[in-house]
Amino acid sequence: MFIRTKMLLPIATVAAVAGMVALTPARADEAVKIGLILPMTGGQASTGKQIDNAVKLYMQQHGDTVAGKKVEVILKDDAAVPDNTKRLAQELIVNDKVGFIAGFGVTPAALAAAPLATQAKIPEIVMAAGTSIITERSPYIVRTSFTLAQSSTIIGDWAVKNGIKKVATLTSDYAPGNDALNFFKQNFTAGGGEIVEEVKVPLANPDFAPFLQRMKDAKPDAMFVFVPAGQGGNFMKQYAERGLDKAGIRVIGPGDVMDDDLLNGMGDAALGTVTAHLYSAAHPSAMNKEFVAAYKKAFGNRPGFMAVSGYDGIHLIYEALKKTGGKTDGDALVGAMKGMKWESPRGPISIDPETRDIVQNIYIRKVEKVDGELYNVEFATFEAVKDSGKTKK
C-alpha cells in the first residue's frame, strides 16, 4: 500500500511540470490576437458554433491581415460556465497577450469577464449575451449582438395594436428571460393588454410539456415566448404536439425562439408566428443575400442571428484596428468603436457612443413559406432602436 508513493509522486509531479511548461505558449509576436471564448460544448453549443463559423467566414472573405498586422483568433470553449470563462479570459490576457476578448455565449459569462477587461484595459466584444446591464459592467465592453429590451418592447407595442388582449408568457428563468418578460409586460400592459399566466421555465431543463399544458388551460390570445437560441426547435415541437397551434394560441416574442438555423425543421406549426428581432436570413438586401449564400456554401446551413452578431463583432474589431493603425491600445480601440456605423447583413447598425451598446433596426416578421422553406419574412421596421433597458441616470 505504501510503497507506491515512493516513486509515483515524483514521477507524477515531474509529468505535471512538463505539461505546464508545454502549455505555456511562446512569447507573443507582432500579430494581433483575439481571444474568442464561446460555448462549443454543452447546452449553448449552437450559439458558439454559429459565431465561430461567422468569424471564420469573415476572415476568409477579408483576409487575415488588417492595418499591416496579422490577425489571429484563439478559440476557447467555456461550455457557458462562468468560472471557465473567467479563467480562460485571464489566461488569454496574461499568457497569449490578446488584444481583444470576444464571444460570450451567456450573460453570466460576459459578466464574469468584465472585471478582467477593465483591469487589463482590453476591449471585450460581446457577440451573443443579451442582458441590458452587461455594457454597464466595464467601460471596455462593446456589444454587437442585441438586448432583449430592444425586441421585447417592440413586440409588446405591436401586440396591443394588433388586437391581442390576453397573453400568457413563457420565459427561460435567467437574466435575459427576465429582461424579455419585464420589458414586454411593461409595454403590453401600458397599452391595455392583460397577462393571464406567467411561467418561468428552467434554463437547463428544456421539457416544456407541463408548462405548455398550463398555457393551454389559460386560453390566451397569444403566448409570449423567450427561450435562448438553440431551444426554439424543441419548444415548437412540443407546442405542436400539445396541440396549442390548433387551439388557436399564437406564438409571439423576441425572435430567439424562431432562430433561423432551426426554423426550417420546426414544421408547419411555426407558420404565422410573429416575432420582433434584429435579423432574418430572409432580410431583403444584397449584402445579406451574399452573406447567406457564402455561409450556406461554407457550413451547409443557414446563418442565424448569433452568426450575424459574430460577423459584425469581428468586423468591428477589424474596423477599429484600421482606425488605430493596428495599435492595440484598449482605450484607443474602444474610442474608435464608439459611434461607428456600418451596413451589416441585418441592415444598418451603429455603436451607441454613450453606452457602447448596439443601435439597430428591429423588424417585425412573420413565419412564411418561401420556395418550400420556412423563413421569417419581415413586414415592418423600427429604425435605429437603442437599448431601453439601461439603468436610468
Binding site: 500500500m1 507506491r4 516513486m7 509515483l8 514521477i11 470553449d77 473567467k86 499568457n95 453570466p108
Partner: protein
C-alpha cells in the same frame, strides 16, 4: 513480539513521512512560483484536489461510494457566497470554516440515509440528494440567483491582510494553504486508530463489527468529515472565483470527481491530488487542441486508462527509473507497486 505491538509498529511506520511526500509538496510549491501566468488553473486544480481528497476519505478508506458529492460542494459554495454577499461573515477564513460546518451538518443528517443499504443504494441515495439540492437551488432563485448565479460577491482580504487580486495569485496560495492544512489533518486521521478501524470496516464490515468496532458510528463520522472537506472545497471555489451558480450542484461535478479518483487511485490520499492534476491537464490540452470535440478525446483516454489498468501503467512509469536503480544499486533495490493495490 505480541500481535498488538506488531500492528502498532506497522501502523507507526506507515504514518511516517517519506522523502517523496516532502518532495511532492515542494514541487507543488515550486509550481506555484514557477508559473505566475497560470494561477487560475492551478487554483482550480488545488480546489479539485481538495474535493477529491474529500471523496477519497469515504471511498478509499471507508468504501462508501458516492455519485452526489457535489451536494456538499454546492452547499459550501452557496454558504460562502451568501455569507459574503449579505455581510454575515466577511472574513474569508472564518467564512470558509463556517461554510464547511454547514456542509458538515448536511453531511451528518444525510449520513443516516447513506449508511443504510449497499453500494448501489448508496449511489442512488447520494445522487438523489445532489439532484434534490440542485432543484431546490433552482426553485429558490431569489436566494440563490438561479441560473445566473449569485451576482456581486465581493471578497474581503484574507485575515484582513491579503486582498484577492484579479490574476489569482492570492487565491492560489490561499487554496494551496487550505489544501495542505486539510491534507495534514486527513493524513493524521487516516493513520490514527480511527482510520485503521475504517479500513477494517472497508475490508469486512461484519468482521469489524465482530471485533467490537462500532461500524455505523464510524461511517457516520467519516461521512460527516468528508462533507466538511467538500464544503470547504466549495467555499474555496466561491471565494476564489467570486461566483456561485447552479452548476456547483451539477451531476457532472460529482461524476468528474469519480473520474479523478479512478485516474489517481483511491485509498492513499495522494490519489485525488495526482488525479486532479492529470484530469485537468488532459482537459486543458485537449480543449486547446480542439475546443469543439475535446470531450471525445477525454472519454477515449479514460477508456484506455481503465482498459490498460493502473498496475500496468505503474510498471511502465517505473520502467526507466528502475533501469537506473538496477545499474546503481543492483536488482534488489527495484521499486514495484504491489498488484493488490491498484
Amino acid at each position: 513480539m505480541s500481535a498488538q505491538a506488531e500492528v502498532s509498529r506497522h501502523a507507526i511506520r506507515g504514518a511516517r513521512w517519506r522523502w517523496s511526500e516532502a518532495a511532492f509538496w515542494l514541487v507543488v510549491l515550486a509550481c506555484a512560483f514557477a508559473f505566475p501566468s497560470r494561477y487560475l488553473i492551478m487554483a482550480d486544480i488545488a480546489r479539485l484536489a481538495l474535493f477529491a481528497l474529500s471523496l477519497d476519505l469515504i471511498l478509499g478508506y471507508a468504501g462508501i461510494v458516492s455519485l452526489g458529492h457535489a451536494a456538499f460542494f454546492g452547499v459550501g459554495a452557496y454558504s460562502a457566497g451568501l455569507m459574503a454577499l449579505h455581510g454575515i461573515i466577511t472574513e474569508p477564513v472564518a467564512a470558509l470554516i463556517a461554510a464547511g460546518l454547514v456542509a458538515m451538518a448536511l453531511g451528518f443528517l444525510t449520513s443516516f440515509l447513506v449508511i443504510r443499504g449497499a453500494d448501489l443504494t448508496r449511489l442512488m441515495v447520494t445522487l438523489g440528494i445532489a439532484l434534490l439540492l440542485e432543484a431546490l437551488a433552482e426553485r429558490f432563485s431569489d436566494i440563490t440567483g438561479g441560473t445566473d448565479g449569485l451576482q456581486g460577491i465581493e471578497m474581503q482580504p484574507i485575515l484582513k491582510l491579503f486582498a484577492f487580486d484579479i490574476f489569482g495569485k492570492v487565491g492560489l496560495f490561499y487554496s494551496l494553504a487550505v489544501l495542505f492544512l486539510l491534507f495534514l489533518l486527513a493524513r493524521r486521521i487516516v493513520h490514527s486508530p480511527f482510520g485503521l478501524s475504517l479500513r477494517a470496516i472497508k475490508n469486512n464490515p461484519l468482521r469489524a463489527a465482530a471485533i467490537g468496532i462500532p461500524v455505523n458510528r464510524r461511517l457516520i463520522a467519516i461521512y460527516t468529515l468528508s462533507a466538511f472537506y467538500a464544503g470547504i472545497a466549495g467555499a474555496l471555489f466561491t471565494q476564489t472565483t467570486a461566483l456561485a451558480s447552479l452548476d456547483v450542484f451539477s451531476f457532472e461535478r460529482s461524476a468528474d470527481l469519480m473520474l479523478v479518483l479512478v485516474i489517481g487511485g483511491a485509498g492513499y490520499l495522494y490519489g485525488g491530488l495526482i488525479g486532479a492534476v492529470v484530469f485537468r491537464m488532459l482537459q486543458e490540452v485537449f480543449s486547446t487542441i480542439t475546443p469543439q470535440y475535446w470531450q471525445f478525446w477525454i472519454g477515449l483516454v479514460l477508456v484506455v486508462i481503465v482498459l490498460v489498468g493502473r498496475p500496468r501503467m505503474h510498471r511502465w512509469a517505473l520502467w526507466a527509473p528502475n533501469l537506473i536503480i538496477k545499474q546503481i544499486a543492483g536488482r534488489k533495490a527495484v521499486v514495484a507497486v504491489p498488484e493488490s493495490d491498484a
